[in-house]
C-alpha cells in the first residue's frame, strides 16, 4: 500500500513532456473542437427548434383563418369536370329452367344397357361399403361412365396388382391418396349413384 502511494505520487508529479515529448495540446484541442462541431449544431437546433415550431404553427393558423376560401377553391375547383363513369349494362334476364322436359326424358338403368364383349379390361374402384376393391370392368362400363368422372379417377387408380389386399400401412396409404384426390368411396355424388349400382351388379355377377 505504501509503495502504491509512492507510485501514484510519481505519476502525479510526472511531466507529460518527459513521457510524451512532442505532445501538442493545441493540435489536440483542434481535434476535439472539430469533433464537437456537430454537437454544437445539435445544441443550437435543440435550443431554437421549439421556437421555430411555435412560430410555424402560429403562421399556419393565421394563413388558414385568412385564406380559408382559397383553400376551399383549391379543394373544389369550379371548372373541374366530373369523371365520367361507364354506364352499367343491365344483365340479361334468363328464363326460368324448364323442369318439365327433364321429367319427360326417361332414365335408363345402366343394368339395362346391352351387353358387349369384354375387351381391354380397366381396373376401377367399387364401393363395397368398407374399402375399395378392384374389378375388371368392360368397355361397356367404360362407355357408360361419364367421361368427366372417368377422366378424374382413372389416373389416380393403382394397378390391380399394386393395390394391397389387406391391412397395414399401405392400405392407409392408398386410402389417403385416393381421399386426397377427392374421390370419396363412401359418399358418392348423385351422379355416381347409378354407376356404383352398376358396379355392384357386375361384381355380383
Amino acid at each position: 500500500m505504501k509503495h502504491d502511494k509512492q507510485l501514484r505520487k510519481t505519476f502525479d508529479e510526472a511531466q507529460v513532456n518527459d513521457l510524451v515529448p512532442d505532445f501538442d495540446p493545441d493540435a489536440g484541442w483542434e481535434e476535439v473542437s472539430r469533433r464537437l462541431k456537430p454537437g454544437r449544431r445539435r445544441i443550437a437546433l435543440n435550443r431554437y427548434l421549439p421556437y421555430a415550431v411555435a412560430v410555424a404553427a402560429v403562421l399556419l393558423l393565421l394563413v388558414r383563418q385568412k385564406e380559408n376560401a382559397s383553400f376551399t377553391l383549391v379543394a373544389f375547383r369550379k371548372d373541374a369536370t366530373p369523371v365520367q363513369q361507364p354506364e352499367r349494362q343491365a344483365r340479361p334476364v334468363l328464363p326460368p329452367p324448364d323442369h318439365s322436359t327433364l321429367a319427360a326424358k326417361p332414365l335408363t338403368h345402366p343394368a339395362a344397357l346391352p351387353a358387349a364383349p369384354v375387351v381391354n379390361p380397366v381396373p376401377l374402384p367399387v364401393d363395397t361399403g368398407d374399402r375399395f376393391i378392384v374389378v375388371e370392368a368392360s368397355t361397356v362400363l367404360k362407355e357408360a361412365l361419364p367421361v368427366k368422372h372417368y377422366a378424374d379417377i382413372a389416373p389416380v387408380l393403382p394397378a390391380a396388382e399394386e393395390l394391397p389386399v389387406a391391412g397395414g400401412q399401405k392400405k392407409g396409404f392408398w386410402r389417403s391418396r385416393i381421399a386426397r384426390r377427392r374421390i370419396a368411396p363412401q359418399t358418392g355424388t348423385k351422379e355416381e349413384a347409378p354407376i356404383r349400382g352398376l358396379m355392384y351388379a357386375l361384381n355380383k355377377e
Binding site: H3, L7, T10, F11, E13, V20, E31, V32, R35
Partner: protein, 189 residues
C-alpha cells in the same frame, strides 16, 4: 449571470459553468488544464502513444457532450470525473481489443520488500516503460488497483471477472514488475 472568463479561471466549478453556458474559450481552457493528466492515464492503460492520443480526444468529446451530467462536489471533482470518464473509455477500448486475463507461467517467488521499495523510487518514465511491458490483463488490474484505488470487488464488477482473478492478476503483475526490475538491475551491473 455570466462569469467573466479571463478573471475566474482558477476555480473548477466556474470553468465548468462557463463551459455549460457555452462561453467561447471555456472548453479550450478546460481541455488545456486536464489534457496532460488524462493523456498519462490513457497511456498507462493503452500501452502505446497513438491509442492514448485517440483516447484523449474521445474522452474530452464525451466529457463535453455529457457535461450536464456532472455534479460539482468540491475541489478536485472535475479531475475525478474526467478521470472516471477516461477509465471507462480505456476499458471500452481494451474490450474492443479483446482484453484477456491470461496467467503466464511463472515461478512462484516470494516478494521482497526491497524490490517493492525500488519500484516506488523509479522515475515516471522507467515506471511507464515497466507498466507497458505488462500483459494487458495484468496492466489493467494493476492500473485500476494502484492508480484508481479500486477494491478487488469493484475491479471484478467492472471487468466482469471474479475477485480471485483480480487478486491473482494483481499479484502476478507485481511479480512481473519486480522480475523486470531485477533484470534491469543485472544489466546495469
Amino acid at each position: 449571470m455570466k462569469i467573466p472568463l479571463k478573471e475566474h479561471l482558477y476555480a473548477e466549478n466556474d470553468l465548468v459553468k462557463a463551459c455549460r453556458e457555452g462561453q467561447s474559450g471555456a472548453r479550450s481552457m478546460l481541455y488545456r488544464r486536464y489534457a496532460e493528466r488524462i493523456l498519462l492515464q490513457c497511456l498507462r492503460y493503452s500501452g502505446n502513444r497513438e491509442d492514448a492520443q485517440e483516447l484523449l480526444t474521445d474522452v474530452f468529446v464525451a466529457a463535453f457532450e455529457r457535461l450536464h451530467q456532472f455534479e460539482y462536489r468540491g475541489e478536485g471533482s472535475v479531475a475525478a470525473w474526467l478521470s472516471r470518464v477516461a477509465v471507462n473509455h480505456c476499458l471500452m477500448h481494451l474490450r474492443k481489443k479483446r482484453l484477456q486475463f491470461e496467467l503466464l507461467d511463472e515461478e512462484q517467488e516470494q516478494h521482497t520488500g526491497e524490490d517493492a521499495e525500488v519500484l516506488g523510487q523509479l522515475g515516471a518514465k522507467e515506471l511507464m516503460a515497466l507498466i507497458h511491458a505488462l500483459p494487458q490483463g495484468y496492466r489493467t488490474v494493476f492500473n485500476l488497483f494502484v492508480f484508481e484505488e479500486m477494491s478487488h470487488r469493484e475491479i471484478a464488477a467492472l471487468l466482469d471477472i471474479s475477485e480471485n482473478t483480480s487478486k491473482t492478476q494483481l499479484h502476478r503483475a507485481r511479480h512481473f514488475l519486480q522480475k523486470q526490475l531485477m533484470q534491469e538491475k543485472k544489466k546495469v551491473q
